[in-house]
Each structure stands twice: as structure tokens, then as C-alpha cells.
């Protein structure tokens, strides 16, 4: 039993009020912005002949339609390229991996202006039909608002993580009409831990987002199905198999995007023209397969309908969507990986269900559970959020049977994918940027702490020509057990240990006593490497030298490194167990 005094209670109540208000405010702002984002994309889609309902109005005028089909993504690509080149500092679209990075490393991330420019580029990308997703940019939109809110000074610990998680939760809650999924997504993908302190405001934000989207604006659901239930017990084996196959599909998809990104980087094509090339390829393919254009929500809704697609059509569409999404995202269109894999997965599931129906005499419960299992089993490894995907199905369909079927598929999918390729596409992106979350939060975080932060200049500097006697005297006067030897220009030479000097006569120079290859850090060494190195070397001091000219910059003591490491662990613990 904890006892509180009056002031404590006041502070606690104040904090609860602030966090609840913060959650609601972020939830409301993010949901309105997210809805505007979605509406803007839909408006562009309608007016630029991307959406099927707009295309059908012009189906008589084939030439006009075909020209528009190629021209719109091409010019859209050019506009996106120019925005990225001239208005975004890091010259690429921002997404969930950046949100994860900001929260995990507690860094400020890119500027609000860059974030908004990236969001604009995403609206243009999706609006002009790029084969990409909307959830990634929406998550980043939530992050921008969260990061702005985090600048308010409420004297609350972990405010940045709380605000960003709330923003992300609201964005997903609005986008899917699924508040619980939004709440869980923020924890599974962004925060990577559960604490009451973050849980409460995040839940409030997700709920507000849901109210705004569903009650006030009545947004249509991503997909709706009427499903009677799984009729045969053995079908769960099929769901598991679909899970395994979907994992492989997801891996192909992720590798595709990364490969295309590598390919374009190896060319000399300037950044501003890269998305345009993707636009041309997309437009040309879309003349034959218009379903590849845009987010693909109409195609997604057709996928659960029996025989809306021929099996051959499904196969072609799955391949085309993987290839074109890889090209679009790899070449720099700004968009997420989430919506395309939802579509690819649901088409794949529908294909599996269709094959079962057409080529076997095995009884089954129709195409719906297979399509939905495929969708979530392929998506879960990409976004690294198995619980979220199961919850999305549960919240959208309110169908318990379907949620259980999806759970089986998702579990098997994640087992396979985690082994082969890691937790999520976002983690791979972060890994490529040098931030490896697969090692655990503590290790990932210490990668971002540099040893230079712990460096100091209180040490004994020696020169190679000094005599053993004088050095012994210097060491005896100080409390050091070793001296750092540099030459005249300050370049590091080695270390001299006091014990080593006993083997030499007092009047000879210390040159022979110098240990030339001790543990040395550079200004680039991070805390994690330092901890590892101190484990293997039995030294209590490490000189820090410049990585370019090996000039001595200072020294780091082992106990400082260990103290800092423990402090980081302590801080993470505290964050993970923080209450209101």
C-alpha cells in the first residue's frame, strides 16, 4: 500500500487530467487531419480518373482514358520527386519507421515542415494513383501532431512517446474504424512496451478518433463481409497453410521493395525524376490492369466476393501488384507498405480459396475466410503487428469465427517470417539506417549514445621519449595507474601501465613499455560497442582517438560506461512501469 500526501495527490490528479486532455486533443486533431488526408486522396482519385467509379464514366472514350492513365501517375511522380528533392531535407518520404525511430531513440526526428511536405507528397502520390498505401503516411501524420504536442512543457516524463503513440493510435483508429486496433498498433509497432502511463492517453486518443470518424463522419469500413462461420474443423489446417504461404509472399514483397530501392540508387538518375519513372511504368501496366492503380480499396472489397475475379486474373494481379508496388515505393513515391499488402494478401487468400473450390472436392466455408486469412497473414509480418491484424478483423467484422481463423493464419505466418526476415519491414528499414531493434530496446538505444558523451580529459599525457623514472614519479603523484602516450602532434601512440614500468631500468625511455594495441575508441564508437569491448578487454580506461587522424581526443573510464548503461536500463524500466 502506497501512501500519498496532499501534494502527491494533487500532482497525480493534475497529471491524469493533463494526459486525458492531451489524448483527446491529439485524437481529435489527428482524426480530422487524417479524414482530410483520406478525402483529399479520394478527391484526386475521382478527378484524375484513378478510381474505378471515375474510370467507368469515361469507358467509351478509350484513347482519352489511356492517355490519362499514363499521364496522371507520370506527372504525379514528377511532382512528388520535386517535393522530395527540394522541400524535404532527407529527400525521401517519412513513414512509420521514422516514428519508431523517434520514439525509441527519443530524438526529435525531422522538422514539422519536412513532415508536412512528406505528407503532401503522399497525398499527391496516392492521389495520382501510385501503387502504395495510405496508412504509413497517416501514421506519420499522427506522429507529426504527437511531436508538436510533446513540445508543450507539462513536466511529464516520456511525454514524447506518449504524444506520438496517441497520434498514431488515433490515425489507425480513424483509418480502420477500429479503435482497439489503433491502440494496440501504437504499442506493438511504435512503443514496443506496455505501460499504464502511455496506455491511458493512447486509448483516449483512439476512442476520440473512432467517435470522430464513425459517429460524426460515418466513414465506410475498409471491408465488410457476411460470414456464417467456419463449417469444418479441418479448415483450420488450411488457414495455417495459408499463413505459411502468405509469410513467403510477404517476404517476396518486402525484398521487392528493398531491391527496387537499391537498383534505383545505383543509377545516376536524380532523385526528382525517380518517382516519375515508376509513374510511367505504372501507367503503362494500368492500361491493361487498371486494378493496380492507387490504394486499391475497391479491388480489395471485390476480393471477398465469390468469382469476382477469375483465378488467372488473381494470379496476374498479385504479381503485378507486388512488382508495381515495389517499383513505386522503391523509386520514391511516398506511401505506405500496409494497404498494398492488404490487397495482395486478400487476393492471394481468394486465390487459395478459389483453387480449393475449383480443383478439389473438399468441403469448405466459402472464399471469405481464406481471403481474410491471406490478407492478415501477409500483412502481419510486414507491419510486425500480429495482434493489430487480428483485432482489425475482429473490429471490422465483429465475427468471432473469422477472428479465430485469422489468428491461426497470422501466428503461422509470423513464425515463418520472423525466422527468415525479422520482425517487420519497418525494422528492416531501421536496420539499414543502423538502428537494430531486433537486439532489444536497450541495445538499440545504446547504439545512439556515443562514448564521446562520457569522455573527459583528466588523464596523464606522456611522450615516448620520457624516462621510466620520471613517468613513475608522475604516476605516483597522480592517482592514475596508466598514462596515455602521444607524439608531438598529439597523435595517439599507446598506453603505459604502471606495472609494466617495473621491468625497465629507471633511466631508459618508456618507449619499450608502451602497449601499442590497447582498447581504443573513436568519436564514432557507440555505447553498445563500448560495453561489449569493456567486457572482452580487461582495461579500465580507453583512449578516444579521432577516426581520421588518430589524434587523442580524451579518455573514457569503464565505470562511466557501465554507470551510463545501467542508467539507460533503469530509464527504460521506469518508462515501461510508469503509472500515471
Amino acid at each position: 500500500m502506497v501512501t500519498f500526501n496532499k501534494d502527491d495527490i494533487k500532482t497525480i490528479i493534475l497529471r491524469i487530467v493533463i494526459l486525458a486532455a492531451l489524448g483527446s486533443a491529439i485524437g481529435a486533431v489527428v482524426s480530422l487531419l487524417a479524414l482530410s488526408f483520406v478525402e483529399a486522396v479520394l478527391w484526386l482519385n475521382r478527378n484524375l480518373l484513378i478510381s474505378p467509379s471515375a474510370r467507368i464514366q469515361h469507358s467509351e472514350n478509350t484513347l482519352f482514358l489511356n492517355v490519362a492513365t499514363v499521364l496522371v501517375p507520370t506527372l504525379g511522380g514528377l511532382a512528388v520527386g520535386l517535393i522530395l528533392r527540394y522541400m524535404v531535407r532527407i529527400r525521401r518520404g517519412l513513414g512509420p519507421s521514422d516514428s519508431i525511430w523517434m520514439v525509441q531513440t527519443r530524438s526529435a526526428g525531422e522538422s514539422t515542415k519536412d513532415g508536412l511536405m512528406s505528407t503532401l507528397a503522399a497525398i499527391l502520390s496516392l492521389g495520382t494513383g501510385a501503387s502504395a498505401g495510405q496508412y504509413g503516411p497517416l501514421v506519420y501524420l499522427g506522429t507529426i501532431i504527437g511531436a508538436v504536442a510533446a513540445k508543450l512543457n507539462f513536466e511529464i516524463r516520456n511525454l514524447q512517446a506518449i504524444s506520438i503513440a496517441s497520434g498514431v493510435a488515433a490515425a489507425i483508429s480513424v483509418a480502420f474504424n477500429a479503435p482497439i486496433a489503433g491502440l494496440v498498433f501504437a504499442h506493438e509497432v511504435i512503443l514496443r512496451h506496455y505501460s499504464i502511463q502511455v496506455f491511458a492517453p493512447t486509448a483516449v486518443a483512439a476512442a476520440v478518433g473512432y467517435v470522430v470518424a464513425n459517429v460524426m463522419f460515418n466513414r465506410p469500413a475498409l471491408f465488410l463481409v457476411e460470414f456464417e462461420g467456419v463449417q469444418f474443423g479441418y479448415e483450420f489446417v488450411f488457414f495455417a497453410v495459408i499463413g505459411v504461404l502468405s509469410a513467403l509472399l510477404a517476404i517476396v514483397y518486402a525484398k521487392g521493395i528493398l531491391t527496387c530501392n537499391d537498383l534505383i540508387k545505383r543509377t545516376n538518375i536524380p532523385i526528382q525524376f525517380r518517382p516519375m519513372i515508376a509513374g510511367i511504368i505504372l501507367g503503362l501496366v494500368a492500361i491493361w490492369i487498371p486494378d493496380v492503380l492507387g490504394i486499391g480499396s475497391t479491388s480489395l472489397r471485390f476480393a471477398t466476393i465469390d468469382h469476382a475475379f477469375e483465378l488467372s486474373e488473381l494470379t496476374v494481379l498479385i504479381i503485378a501488384k507486388i512488382v508495381l508496388t515495389s517499383i513505386c515505393l522503391g523509386f520514391g513515391f511516398v506511401g505506405g507498405v500496409f494497404s498494398p499488402i492488404l490487397l495482395i494478401g486478400i487476393l492471394f487468400g481468394a486465390l487459395c480459396g478459389g483453387i480449393l473450390d475449383d480443383f478439389t472436392a473438399i468441403g469448405h466455408s466459402g472464399i471469405i475466410p481464406y481471403a481474410v486469412c491471406g490478407m492478415m497473414a501477409a500483412t502481419s509480418p510486414i507491419i510486425g503487428a500480429p495482434l493489430t491484424t487480428i483485432l482489425i478483423v475482429f473490429e471490422l467484422t465483429r465475427n468471432y469465427d473469422l477472428a479465430i481463423a485469422v489468428m491461426v493464419a497470422v501466428v503461422f505466418s509470423n513464425l515463418i517470417s520472423y525466422r527468415i526476415f525479422g520482425r517487420s519491414f519497418f525494422d528492416i528499414q531501421l536496420h539499414q539506417r543502423g538502428f537494430d531493434l531486433s537486439l532489444g530496446r536497450i541495445n538499440a538505444l545504446t547504439v545512439y549514445q556515443k562514448v564521446t558523451d562520457l569522455m573527459h580529459e583528466n588523464f596523464l599525457r606522456l611522450h615516448p621519449h620520457e624516462t621510466v623514472a620520471s613517468v613513475k614519479e608522475k604516476l605516483a603523484k597522480s592517482w592514475y595507474d596508466e598514462g596515455i602516450v602521444t607524439d608531438e602532434s598529439g597523435v595517439f601512440v599507446g598506453i603505459v601501465q604502471v606495472k609494466a614500468l617495473d621491468n625497465y631500468t629507471p633511466e631508459c625511455s618508456i618507449n619499450d613499455a608502451i602497449e601499442h594495441n590497447p582498447l581504443v575508441f573513436t568519436e564514432l564508437t557507440n555505447m553498445r560497442e563500448a560495453v561489449e569491448d569493456f567486457k572482452t578487454f580487461t582495461a579500465d580506461i580507453a583512449p578516444v582517438v579521432s577516426s581520421t587522424d588518430r589524434k587523442l581526443l580524451g579518455v573514457v573510464w569503464d565505470y562511466d560506461v557501465i554507470r551510463s548503461y545501467l542508467a539507460t536500463i533503469q530509464r527504460l524500466r521506469q518508462e515501461e512501469n510508469e503509472s500515471l
Binding site: 467507368i56 464514366q57 465506410p220 475497391t298
Partner: protein
């Protein structure tokens, strides 16, 4: 009691005086004919004539806005007051054919509830007031299916289980929604998916299944006749017409309680009508709580004002409770009720026509 009688007498006197003042004036009003017209005449028009002395002429109208734009020799429109389907009402409003509508043009309910609160929220259009909600449904001939009865919209397209001719309106309407529904597509997604090539292809596939079994109808009174004389075994049509055939003509017709398509019937006044005052008086009269209930007690189109719904009782001839036959009736087992998206209809006019004509042509080749 005496007081009440005096009150009635005063009202009657006042009414007759009024009648003299308005003598000689004639309003021309659209009518959908048949059972609908009979209900209109006895519930609304005759009492109106008696009370106001304004003569009302009913003229046949089969929908569309072209008839509303026609002029007589004096360059006046042919109608004063029109009873339109919702999609036509929107279109006519956009074309500035109808006067703008205000809630003050209608009377409050008997208990004083203002009209704004008494009418359904959706009933208020910019240029009119929705007065009834009717349903387009599929009905079948009981005699044709002595054993298993059709029970879902999918059965309408299932020639093997339920063989026989189907009567359909020769117009790309209703059957589009039903074809989509037959695939198990949830009602909320039907219009979005219909707005695509793939959606229309799905409809085509369903229509092809029944291609050789279709009898087309054009006027609303035909489906019940076609069912009655055994020409077809199933037919699309308006719920009130099927009700009338069953109750008044003992037809063996049952309605499938799946896939009701709801739409409003809307009163509007033509902008160029020279009889604005009389037209407004008429509209105020026929939208009164009791009048709307009287109409719905004759034909099961549900009134859009809640005070009228509370006054619905038994059908005058057959003594059945009218509420059970109303569209979207809670007592029936209706599922997959769809509200017709009138805005979608006006937007896709060309596309639907083209698709329909192509489909018809395909059959001829």
C-alpha cells in the same frame, strides 16, 4: 359535446365560405395511376375538393423530368403539384423546375410537434418534402412454387431451383442492386462496387443466367397482372401494388422479404405554375398528420411523419394491420434493406443506360 358540434359547424361554415372564394380554380397534379391513384383520390383529393372547393385534376405521369418541362398553349407548365421519385426530385431541383421548400409550408402535428421534428430527417429536400417511403421488391406466384418458396434475392436468379419467367422493369434499376446482393455483397458496399466495370460485369453474369426468362414491364401496375395471369412466376414491383392485388383481387402473391429497395415519394410545386397559392394550400392539406395516415391506410407506403405512423390501423377492406405491410416493417422478416442512392442514380445515368443497352444488344446477337 355541444361545444364540439358547434366547433365543427363553425369550421364547416368557414370552410364552405372559403370554397366559394376559391371557386373556379383547378390544380393539376401528377399521379402514378392504378391502386395508387385510387388511394390518392379517396384519402386526399376528394376531401380536399370538398373542403376548399378547389378542383383537382389528376394526370398520368410515369416519371422523369421531361413531362415537367412541357408547356401548354398559355406557356404554363402542364402540372402545378408533382409527386416524384426521389432521384427525379433531386434532378428537378438542380434544374430549377421546383420552388424552394421551407418547413413553414407544413402544419405541425395535432399535438403541436413542429413539422421539422415530426418528419423524418431525410424527408426534407431543398425543393420538396418526402411524404411516403415505398419499396421495390420481388414477389412470386404462390401457385408456381407449391413446395419450396423463394426466400432470398439469390433465388430470383436461380433458374434451376425456381424455374419460370421473371418480370423485370425495362430499366437499369433495382436489378443492379439485387444482382450484387445475390453475391452476398453487404448493402453498404453495393453502390461503390456497382460503380466499376467489375461490378457491372458481376451484374451481367447474373442477368445472363435469367436472360431467356425475362418478361419486361414498364408501368407499375403490370407486375401484379403478369403474376396474376400466370405469365411470370416472379416479378419486381412496388410493394403497394402487390399488396393491393393480394387484398383486393385475391391474387396468390407473396413478397420476398430480402433486398427491399427503399425510395421516397416527394411532393414538389412547379416554379412556373400560375396557381402557387392553391398549390401550397394543397400541399399543406395532404401533408397533414391525418391525411397522410388516411393514405397509408389504403396502400402500404409508409408516411414520413411519425405522428401519421401512430395513426395507421387496419386496411379498410381486408382488416389486416397495415403496419405489417409497410416497407422496412419491423414485424416482417426483412433483411438487406437498401436505401436507393438517388444521388448515385443521377450520377450514373449514362453509364447505366449504356451498360443496359449493351446487355440487351448482346442478347440479340
Amino acid at each position: 359535446m355541444n361545444l364540439y358540434r358547434t366547433f365543427v359547424a363553425v369550421i364547416a361554415l368557414w370552410g364552405s365560405g372559403f370554397a366559394v372564394a376559391q371557386e373556379g380554380q383547378t390544380l393539376t397534379i401528377t399521379s402514378w395511376g392504378g391502386a395508387y391513384e385510387r388511394a390518392q383520390l379517396s384519402a386526399l383529393i376528394e376531401p380536399f375538393r370538398k373542403e376548399t372547393g378547389i378542383d383537382v385534376k389528376l394526370r398520368q405521369y410515369v416519371g422523369g423530368i421531361e413531362p415537367l418541362q412541357r408547356r401548354d398553349q398559355k406557356n404554363n407548365p402542364e402540372f402545378d403539384v408533382v409527386d416524384l421519385v426521389e432521384s427525379d426530385a433531386h434532378f428537378a431541383c438542380d434544374e430549377k423546375i421546383l420552388i424552394n421548400f421551407e418547413s413553414s409550408m407544413l402544419d405541425p402535428a395535432a399535438d403541436g410537434t413542429p413539422a421539422e421534428e415530426d418528419f423524418m430527417e431525410d424527408a426534407w429536400l431543398d425543393c420538396g418534402i418526402a411524404h411516403i417511403e415505398y419499396a421495390t421488391v420481388v414477389a412470386y406466384d404462390e401457385r408456381a412454387f407449391m413446395e419450396e418458396k423463394p426466400s432470398s434475392i439469390a433465388d430470383f436468379f436461380d433458374i434451376e431451383r425456381f424455374p419460370g419467367k421473371r418480370a423485370l422493369q425495362r430499366h437499369p434499376r433495382a436489378v443492379l442492386e439485387w444482382a450484387m446482393l445475390s453475391y452476398g455483397i453487404p448493402p453498404q458496399q453495393i453502390y461503390e462496387l456497382l460503380s466499376s466495370e467489375r461490378g457491372l460485369n458481376l451484374v451481367t453474369r447474373r442477368m445472363n443466367q435469367i436472360r431467356d426468362h425475362i418478361v419486361w414491364w414498364e408501368s407499375g401496375s403490370e407486375p401484379a397482372q403478369l403474376l396474376g395471369d400466370g405469365t411470370v412466376v416472379m416479378a419486381s414491383g412496388y410493394n403497394g401494388r402487390f399488396f393491393e392485388a393480394t387484398m383486393n383481387h385475391d391474387a396468390a402473391i407473396s413478397v420476398i422479404q430480402d433486398g427491399q429497395l427503399l425510395e421516397f415519394g416527394v411532393w414538389g410545386i412547379l416554379r412556373d405554375s400560375p396557381n402557387q397559392e392553391a398549390a401550397k394550400k394543397f400541399l399543406r392539406y395532404v401533408t397533414g398528420t391525418q391525411k397522410m395516415a388516411d393514405f397509408s391506410n389504403r396502400i402500404p407506403y409508409s408516411p414520413t411523419r411519425s405522428s401519421s405512423i401512430r395513426r395507421i390501423g387496419l386496411h379498410e377492406k381486408s382488416n389486416v394491420s397495415m403496419l405489417t405491410y409497410m416497407p422496412r416493417s419491423t414485424s416482417s422478416t426483412s433483411k438487406n434493406v437498401i436505401r436507393i442512392a438517388s444521388e448515385w442514380y443521377s450520377r450514373t445515368e449514362k453509364v447505366r443506360e449504356r451498360w443496359f443497352n449493351e446487355w440487351l444488344l448482346d442478347g440479340e446477337n
